[in-house]
Symmetry: C2
Subunit: 416 residues, 2 copies
């Protein structure tokens, strides 16, 4: 089985929003053993949408539409598909009742154009919308399955997970399954990594090995196909073992994890608490660590110390250090990390001070970053970075390096 | 002139990354007066890429490719285009020298596969890559312009801005220009807003009015076409005036601004400094305010007070308040905002305390948020929210409401 995802919306073609729906659906379809060969984006224009449907019908079995089911004038997806397939639109009373109920629950007034959202393709299977108003639809006709989903991700994603998946799952399990695993590396470049494992990439067609770089990280996506998912999993294990013999020292995690997730997991296991003193990163490390529910077992709080006054008065960095070495210095990073740990009563203090850009600071060039790491019972370490990105990239990169160094230190202390 | 953007990369079809390049290029092309009618995503597969090119040639004048110019085995874009157009690939010595220089500067070892990146389509105009290795190319052949750009956004975006735009700009100015303006609203829903202005939307075809909702905000994109950009601008002014007579009270800004940007601008104008005490938002407000260069004129620092200990010991919230009312309370928000302002010597203290989810806290339901706003010389205000999103959506929404309330208060004080 193969599929094409057609996103409908002029806002995508004008660059107002990004097509995250195609990403979500692609991940889901891979898990169902469905190959996605194309994504298409087309505007709120019935003629061009009709042509896109005709092209998709020639090359894809499953055609999934996102967007254009809303209440406003430019929402035309189901009208265009109905005309193209020679189907009527009919009022779905369940969907209408659910829309009316939605307005009652959220205490808002229902306007007339909201009724339009309850019109569905005659003969289609309805996918309820538990997080919004427009219902989804699935229709089998000829050699094709047409699935219509709403555009807002917070409606589309749960609808697909709870109702859409089932409508696409094969009846038996005779179909080939696609199993994917992403290996995540930090501290090695894409070409260097590929050079180390080029013979493996060349020798393999199942599983395939696909490298990808971004945000200072490199990932390898391993993808195996087999009718038996367990066998596909063992095929991935085999190739992963070979890869790790070459570049395993840079591997830090799998799939959708992040350096910060891995760090948090490690802190929880070791029952350690952490605090942060953030200058150039402005709270980014702490925002990330609190983005996961349950962060309170490892994190009580910390400080954003943007100015020298806050570094001195709140975090007690000595006036001598600031005068003699400046805020962007090894000495300042060290005092920030140690003092933060002591003030917040944490086992670990991490500090970030540096020059995010675009202008230099204290005569130090853009991209200069010092990261202080004070772990109870160990000598405080300070790492220096020289980054080459934009202001925001340097901030993101600094947080990642902070996590990377801290994970390394915690592993060392474990092995010592 | 119209264009199609073809992104090449199996990682997009597997859902490993999102096609942000299509968004960036769409925005840029709109500014150049080029209509974008389609986005296509195709995998690292020469046959399917060739078919996608053939379809694009039938419906689009400019075809822009992103991705597949890298050093690895699965990077096949220029090879496939060369075969399709009957062109040779030739080593570009300038590009090769630039790649060698890149490795010297970043102190890394150049591997053999990196040389492949300096191969270019014979007869094409080269777009230098100032932030990476693979050069871009522009080739005019028959009725089409083919532009090849690298996949990583940090290479592609500056390449397009500095070199790609010029290659596409019309020689004269006889072409119709598209001028767009986005009006940003907060505090009103999409259908409610559309109902207020439905007659305007129906009556207009140039400019068009397109509503879009997301993240608690609603935007209206106004788009006018005219050979004279100044006239197009006046057409937008006219329709904006009509819209503002109906819903102007909810308008907070234009185009790519954000509530936080508007707040920062206002603080700079009024020469006011701000600090924050963040519990559920975990540093998100401070991270955002420091994402803009020059934040130091309005922000010295603040605290992430995730635990009650930090609220009490660092931010001096009284034990009585925490015992009697809890951390998620009007009283706690008030003390946090006032004490943060006093400790950090700021004109304004803002506090965020609440239940992000997924579990309730102190018997208060998920989504309960208190925002304290202490402005020097004004009585401290506390706003209560009841949000209905996921953990991360509630955090984002809380920060937006904080900015929205503070902007309102500052406007009130100005008018008082």
């Amino acid at each position: 089985m193969n599929a094409e995802i057609i996103a409908v919306g002029s806002e995508l073609l004008l660059g107002q929003i990004v097509n995250t729906n195609a990403r979500f659906l692609s991940q889901q379809l891979a898990g169902l053993g469905v190959d996605v060969y194309f994504h298409t984006v087309v505007g709120d224009n019935p003629d061009r949408l009709k042509k896109a449907i005709e092209i998709a019908e020639k090359r894809s079995q499953i055609i999934i539409f996102t967007g254009g089911l809303g209440p406003t004038k430019d929402d035309l997806t189901k009208e265009t598909i109905a005309r193209h397939l020679g189907k009527e639109l009919a009022m779905d009373e369940t969907a209408l009742a659910s829309i009316e109920d939605y307005f009652k629950r959220t205490n808002r007034v229902m306007t007339e154009n909201n009724r339009k959202q309850a019109l569905v393709l005659a003969g289609s299977h309805i996918l309820p919308n538990d997080h919004g108003m427009a219902p989804g639809m699935v229709l089998e006709q000829g050699a094709h399955i047409y699935m219509l989903l709403p555009g807002p991700p917070k409606e589309m994603e749960p609808m697909f997970l709870h109702y859409g998946r089932k409508a696409l799952s094969p009846d038996g399990d005779s179909n080939e399954k696609i199993v994917s695993r992403v290996l995540r590396f930090f501290g090695i470049g894409e070409a260097a990594l590929e050079t180390e494992i080029l013979d493996l990439i060349d020798a393999q067609s199942n599983p395939t090995i696909a490298p990808l770089a971004g945000d200072g990280e490199v990932t390898l996506r391993l993808t195996a196909k087999h009718v038996d998912e367990t066998v596909a999993g063992s095929m991935l294990d085999d190739v992963e073992r070979k890869i790790n013999q070459r570049v395993g020292e840079f591997l830090y995690g799998y799939d959708n994890t992040s350096l910060l997730n891995e760090l948090t997991k490690m802190l929880k296991e070791k029952k350690l608490t952490i605090t942060a003193a953030e200058s150039l990163t402005g709270g980014m490390f702490q925002k990330e660590i609190t983005s996961v529910s349950g962060a309170s077992s490892v994190f009580n709080g910390g400080v954003v110390c943007y100015s020298n006054e806050v570094k001195h008065q709140v975090l007690r960095v000595s006036a001598e250090t600031l005068d003699k070495f400046g805020a962007v210095s090894e000495q300042c990073a060290l005092e920030l990390a140690e003092n933060a740990a002591s003030i917040f009563g944490a086992d670990i203090g991490i500090s970030f001070t540096g020059v995010a850009g675009p202008d230099e600071l204290e005569g130090k060039p853009v991209g200069t970053v010092y990261i202080g790491i004070a772990i109870k019972g160990m000598p405080t370490a300070v790492e220096k970075l020289v980054l080459a990105g934009t202001r925001e990239a340097n901030r993101v990169r600094a947080v990642k390096y902070g996590c990377y160094y801290l994970i390394k230190k915690l592993k060392e202390s474990q092995n010592a």
